[in-house]
Symmetry: C2
Subunit: 166 residues, 2 copies
């Protein structure tokens, strides 16, 4: 699928804001991800407030690009919704990947910055956003209108494919 | 994105085999998933051998549908490739989700059955496929030509979206 290959980590954005309709569609894509027992163990914090965006890198060293991003989406696990112990990490990852594909499909650019399981990032962002203990910051996706271009991804490696046995 | 909503868990398949070209394209989609530091910590076992498919449910109680499936793809983590400690689960989940979207885009049907972190499933499938300790079975995706139809997914929940704070 063309969109899968065209999804690249975009870390530079123009100053244009992202339409809230696009942000909703991106989160909708996340919410339509598969999850264990369809538990949907997620919550989403949309960040468009400049002062709040600028505070994030103090708690998340890999998220410096939010200083230039007009928006970011914080994907959180909601542990109170977990029904299938041990699978919420995978569920939130599938939601994050869907969001990145929807971002790409809309001509926008974004990047997956990992939070969980880095404790200092989790604790710092819980504090910054006033999250209860049951809400675990999982990934942060800064996004905007792309100000960089990258060729489609092409990581196919035949030697990673095995037939019927190792 | 239409394909994201149309991806549903398809557990019934016709007897038709899946073309190996489709299987390669599906794995290619998995390999083009994002990963922490682009570590790509994955290996893929394509299972088309009937006797092997039929042995899987003994080790994976949620994978009974492989008895009717013409093929399955076992996504494994390769711990020897990990460069960013703690993120391989998310990487393998993103790859699995990309594969399911590619399956949908090709008019095929598949389902994500979780393996890791269930120890008995991990150990059983390591034994069945002769995997070394560093190769961890992560998810199994049975697939085929769909013999069931489901409406598009529609799980949007506005109350899971928060603006700038909890």
């Amino acid at each position: 699928m063309d969109i899968i290959d065209r999804r690249r980590s975009i870390r530079k954005y123009t100053a244009d804001p992202v339409d809230m309709k696009d942000i909703e569609a991106i989160i909708r894509a996340g919410m339509n991800a598969p999850s264990a027992r369809n538990q949907q163990p997620w919550q989403f914090i949309v960040i468009t407030d400049r002062a709040t965006l600028d505070k994030i890198p103090a708690y998340h060293p890999n998220a410096g690009m939010v200083r230039q991003a007009p928006a970011a989406i914080l994907v959180c696990a909601d542990l109170s919704l977990v029904q299938s112990e041990g699978f919420w990490i995978q569920d939130c990852a599938a939601a994050t990947e869907n969001m990145l594909l929807e971002i790409t499909a809309r001509g926008l650019g974004g990047v997956w910055t990992g939070i969980y399981p880095r404790e200092e990032r989790v604790n710092g962002l819980q504090k910054l956003f006033g999250l209860p203990d049951s809400i675990v910051p999982f990934s942060l996706v800064p996004l905007g209108h792309p100000a960089e271009e990258k060729p489609p991804k092409n990581e196919f490696k035949r030697d990673r494919i095995h037939l019927n046995k190792w």
